[in-house]
Amino acid sequence: MDLSHIWHNLSEFLIYQKDAPMLFSSGIFWFLFLLFIPIYAALKNRRWQMILFVVAFSLYFYYKSSGFFFLLLIGTSLLDWSLSRMMLKLGSKLAKKLCVFTSIVASIGVLCYFKYANFFMWNWTQMIGGNFQPLDIILPVGISFYTFQSISYIVDVYKERVAPTKTWLEYLFFLSFFPALVAGPIVRADYFLPQISQNKKATRDEVYLGFWMIILGIVKKAIIADYISQYNDLIFSNPTGYTGFESLMGVIGYTMQIYCDFSGYSDMAIGIALIMGFKLSKNFDFPYKSSNLTDFWRNWHISLSSWLRDYIYIPLGGNRKGTIRTYVNNFLTMLIGGLWHGADWKFVFWGAMHGVGLAIHKAFKPILNKIPNVWPVKAISWLITITIVSLLWVFFRADSWTDSLAIIQNIFTNFRYDYIPVFLSVRYIWVVMISIIIIAHSLPRRWYDVISRWFVHSPWIAKFAIFVIVVQLVLQFMNEDVSPFIYFQF
């Protein structure tokens, strides 16, 4: 064994690699987290040293994911914090507004440049005619998330909902807090800043509850979502190459995949933060149990929908300016929410359709409220909601408008019942995974509390065994390939 090779390979892992961002489900993160824990534990009682250490780790985490864009994060935090402190000293409301305006323009400006410049320019050249050469812009990971955090901070300071942090370091801690940095949940200043001041130590139960959430997150993200995505990718990469039944399975699969992927990552983030003694708000609350779109958005990506409500919908007038304006505000909020997900018309369409759905639900609410809430009504409501949500995910996932329509059309025109038994026998692992999600999603909430309590108080060896089994399952499924069914054509 050559030690120089080990050192060389280890250093390769530790430097920024464009194609290998540091995810919570990656081995390198857990190796570093293992080093992080004892140092963090030792520094927890020395608040400033702890803050400095976590900020340094967070910036390194960001460097591993986005290279030298961590400097941009530092720059954004410096500007926000300076303007927030300036607001404290300024008496004039106009001057304060100017500070807020400057901060928001800077944050949105940076976001627009990195995320939307090519999109806007492409649309512009389409309108005026001419050739469009896209700019070679790399999108910094997590910029959409921390931009929203930065806006919430500056607005909350202006509205005097939170006091500006005394030091820049505390604000940088808030903005760069690594568990929530690259994929949320979007942390709100009024919820998080007091936790930095209190510097509460995590209890033993919280540490293991955090660990349990991480394990749940790994199961959702690294086992289920990553496995089922392989089949879904095949369907979405060749929309007309499969039967309608297979396409339908792909759509259901993607509906489950995006939930497991995103909520799994959120679970891991919340769990890691909890181990450190910080509470992040819940980001998903059984969204696919919802029986209407309003309910769905109360339970799906909660940190984003509540952010959109507080910083876009309400400032637009919310429901205070009449019925029509309420619908328009709802629609605009969802439109912006759609665009936030990516610089593409498909996201705008997806957001807009949800906006329309929410408006329709609001409009019919007085009538719907008169219908008795018995189980057949609940079942039909649920079915309508999940169908709308799933169909709209097609537009979200497919590469183009044409592909989306092709998949949906395929479901209705080329269903082929004879493929069902073949599918069930060949894709049985996929079917088992989907069944697990559906069953897990249908379980009563209190069961989860019972299981998590059991885990927290279980013997050390049980926790160890569960963790090892879960990691081994990740490894087993990681290399499992799902091949396309080209031979079905013959």
Binding site: M1, D2, H5, I6, H8, N9, L10, E12, G27, W30, F31, F33, L34, I37, P38, Y40, A41, A42, K44, N45, K201, A202, T203, R204, E206, V207, Y208, F211, Q230, D233, L234, S237, N238, P239, T240, G241, I275, D399, V426, W460, K463, F464, F467, V468, V471, Q472, L475, Q476, M478, N479, D481, S483, P484, F485, I486, Y487, Q489, F490
Partner: protein
Amino acid sequence: MNKGNQYIGLWLILLISLALFIVLSAYEPIKICGVEIRTTKVYERLTREPEPTPEEIAEAKQKEAEEKAAKQKELQKQKLSEPQTILFIGDSMLEGLAPRLASYAKENNHKLYSVIWYSSTSEVWGETDSLKVNIERYKPTYVFICLGANELFVRDIATKRDKFVKNIISQIGDLPYLWIGPPNWKPDTGINDLIDKNAEKGCFFLSNGMHFDRTSDGAHPTRNSAIAWMDSVVRWMAKSSAYPIANMKVPSEPTARATKQTVYQPKR
């Protein structure tokens, strides 16, 4: 750790788990009741020799190609001007390509043996000796391969399939060969790069980027498009192949039957 006792248990779980997975990775392959227990490969990743830089790879490849070419040039030239016995193996794409190559063979007095393994991948061929067996059976003087269409979207392909691609090429031995890349209908996850990296210079034909008319499955080129595809390969061979076959006049018939065609059913 005395100020953070609540962390000791968790820390030990993580530490022992890490140690366990590192140790296990040093002993692969591990099988329990016939099931392969996959490992983190941490041990291998940590102890492997540093990978050469792309420049070093290119330089070594160039040098290797030049040396090999110099040795075999004369011999091959002589041989490649004679009638060839061609073995053509691969996936269902051979349905379109092999009849056109057979037509070239007929026109130019070569023999063609084709082996179609439906739904096959580099993994399927790379983990078996099928190619070697067919080489022993037909004693070809030239090998054509068309593989990769069934693995366009496999994630982490560079790590998963590298050994299989290498194994396929090693089964060919010293015979001249040409690997025809898959006709992408969407961007791939790296299969073309992987084959290109492993194949000898001038032995890989990149089909990605060519225009294809497709059959209703959206993947396979139509009969006419497959003919045009094979014609492009032959034209490319004359100019850029490491081992150009001398007699490859364009045939009068669009397609023909191979001397012998073998069909393997999908593995699953």
